[in-house]
């Protein structure tokens, strides 16, 4: 190792980027509110590290070194732009403060929680929140995320630039939300993380990890958030929900790539450690005594897993969970799932009545509705209608494996 300082320097820089990118962006942006400038300054600092570290050796506190260099870059940029307003003065003061504090080089404080709340601020376009979090907290770039979010790279890039400009221009504070705002603001943060997870979940046909969307990154965001807010129940609920889904991810396709629905999955291919982590997160959340929608969704996943593992789960209990979820957060997906739970409890005709009560505009291009309707029509003996619904569901699916499965199910009628 010692005879390869270049390699050691690169490894140290990569390690610092992985561990601390978001923390460094958060600290740099906290006073300036300029995320884009902070990212530029940090990129400069990393470039400088790759020049200096092979020559000077890797510093004892790489993050503190990077932070100091990035700060100086920011200050230089401010000086050159001659915008000597209040923010610049604050920054100068901050730089002095850091210079005077001998303890600062020992520790890099964790400001990422503020960054989460900024990224999911109501003033930011909802479609930009998840990618903004992934970019600022984990350092992912727009090109890497475009496929997962099914956005054009240029569109996503513009959306991120606009979001950062908005943080600066609108003066969105890098502060912890006030107590009355906290539940809604936290909900926005959780929704952003779950949106990132959902992009990966839908993209299952890309079986290898590099193609499989952003599920691992979303779970990482969830873990970070739980660490930063240990007294809040809903982040744990979200983490449990993502871990339950992830524990079944490998079983959703057979060895030869055929789609496998939950009820037919080989439970030997479920990931036991992930499921255990999910159950533990859900228990921890429940112990905090503040029920919320993500905990209910996790509980539903837990019930589905338990049923497949041989436990007796009363069908009406699932209907009750969906009722609870819909009371807190009405949405199309939960209504379709509730109809399926009703069908389990009271027969396919009852489930179909629930589906038929949904507004046409809401379900015109919503694939799970048509798949559920096809399944229930088939069970109800309405083969011709079921075939039409299977065709509609297949036409709305972006996955060749799911289309093949739907076609086969239609054939079997």
């Amino acid at each position: 190792m010692t005879d390869d300082p270049l390699h050691a320097a690169h490894a140290a820089a990569e390690g610092a980027a992985r561990r601390s990118y978001g923390r460094l962006v958060a600290i740099l942006s906290a006073r300036t509110r300029d995320i884009a400038a902070s990212e530029d300054a940090l990129a400069d600092a990393f470039a400088r590290a790759l020049e200096r570290w092979p020559v000077d050796g890797v510093p004892a506190q790489p993050e503190a070194w990077l932070l100091q260099v990035a700060r100086h870059r920011t200050l230089d940029a401010w000086r050159h732009s001659r915008v000597q307003d209040e923010a610049a003065q604050t920054l100068l003061l901050l730089a002095d403060e850091v210079g005077d504090d001998p303890a600062f080089s020992e520790t890099v404080p964790d400001e990422r929680l503020r960054l989460f709340f900024v990224c999911a601020h109501p003033a930011i376009d909802a479609a930009a929140r998840a990618p903004l979090m992934l970019q600022t907290v984990l350092g992912l770039d727009a090109a890497r995320m475009a496929g997962a979010f099914l956005s054009a790279p240029a569109t996503l890039g513009q959306r991120l630039v606009r979001a950062k400009a908005r943080v600066r221009a609108a003066g969105i504070p890098f502060e912890f939300p006030r107590a009355p705002d906290l539940p809604q603001r936290l909900q926005d943060v959780l929704d952003g993380i779950y949106a990132a997870y959902g992009t990966g979940w839908d993209d299952v046909d890309g079986a290898d990890a590099s193609q499989r969307g952003l599920t691992a990154e979303a779970i990482e965001l969830g873990r970070i958030l739980c660490g930063l807010m240990p007294a809040e129940a809903e982040p744990l609920g979200l983490l449990a929900l993502m871990l339950f889904c992830e524990s079944r991810a490998a079983a959703r396709r057979s060895a030869d790539g055929v789609y496998v629905p939950l009820d037919a999955q080989d439970i030997a291919r479920w990931n036991r450690p992930l499921r255990d982590q999910a159950e533990q997160a859900l228990r921890q959340a429940a112990a905090l005594g503040a029920f919320g929608p993500y905990q209910i969704e996790a509980a539903i996943q837990s019930a589905h897993c338990a049923r497949r593992l041989g436990a007796q789960v009363p069908p009406d209990a699932l209907v009750a969970l969906y009722d609870g979820l819909l009371a807190l957060r009405p949405n199309t997906g939960a209504r379709v799932s509730r109809a399926c739970a009703v069908a389990e409890a009271r027969g396919p005709a009852a489930g179909l009545r629930e589906l038929d009560a949904m507004p046409a505009a809401e379900i015109a291009s919503y694939q799970p509705f048509w798949a559920a309707r096809a399944h229930l029509l088939g069970r109800d003996g309405q083969a011709a209608e079921a075939r039409l619904a299977y065709a509609r569901a297949a036409g709305l699916s972006a996955s060749p494996a799911v289309r093949a499965w739907l076609a086969a199910a239609s054939e079997r009628l």
């Binding site: 099914l150 569109t155 046909d205 065709a391 036409g395 972006a398 060749p400 076609a407």
Partner: protein
């Protein structure tokens, strides 16, 4: 916003084949066309006969050049198109991703010039 979805398919998909895979592929297109029409977003669209039925014309100076076959000699050829009216590019990409040829060839999505309403 109106977008044209242009469906590019590998040559093998234009060949008239009868094996099960080819039939399943055609059924996939029928499902897709049915779903996109029923969703009410389609302005217009057509499927095209295979590229070999095409004729390409160029005028160079005083000379007309007429050539059998498609304009570009590439592995994937235009097989059909839809013009759809959806809120934004993301929604257009969602419909593009559902096309059967998205996983075998590709779909190009382009905004359409629309005449200003008088």
């Amino acid at each position: 916003m109106q977008y044209m979805l242009m469906f590019y398919q590998p040559q093998s998909e234009f060949d008239q084949r009868d094996e099960a895979a080819a039939q399943a592929y055609r059924a996939g297109w029928m499902d897709y066309v049915g779903a996109i029409r029923q969703a009410g977003v389609v302005q217009n669209g057509h499927g095209l006969h295979p590229p070999l039925t095409g004729t390409t014309l160029r005028v160079r100076g005083d000379k007309r050049q007429v050539q059998d076959g498609p304009f570009a000699d590439s592995k994937e050829q235009l097989g059909g198109y839809f013009v759809i009216d959806v809120p934004d590019l993301d929604a257009a990409l969602e419909w593009a991703a559902r096309a059967p040829c998205a996983s075998t060839g590709g779909v190009e999505v382009r905004p359409v010039f629309t005449a200003p309403t008088m």
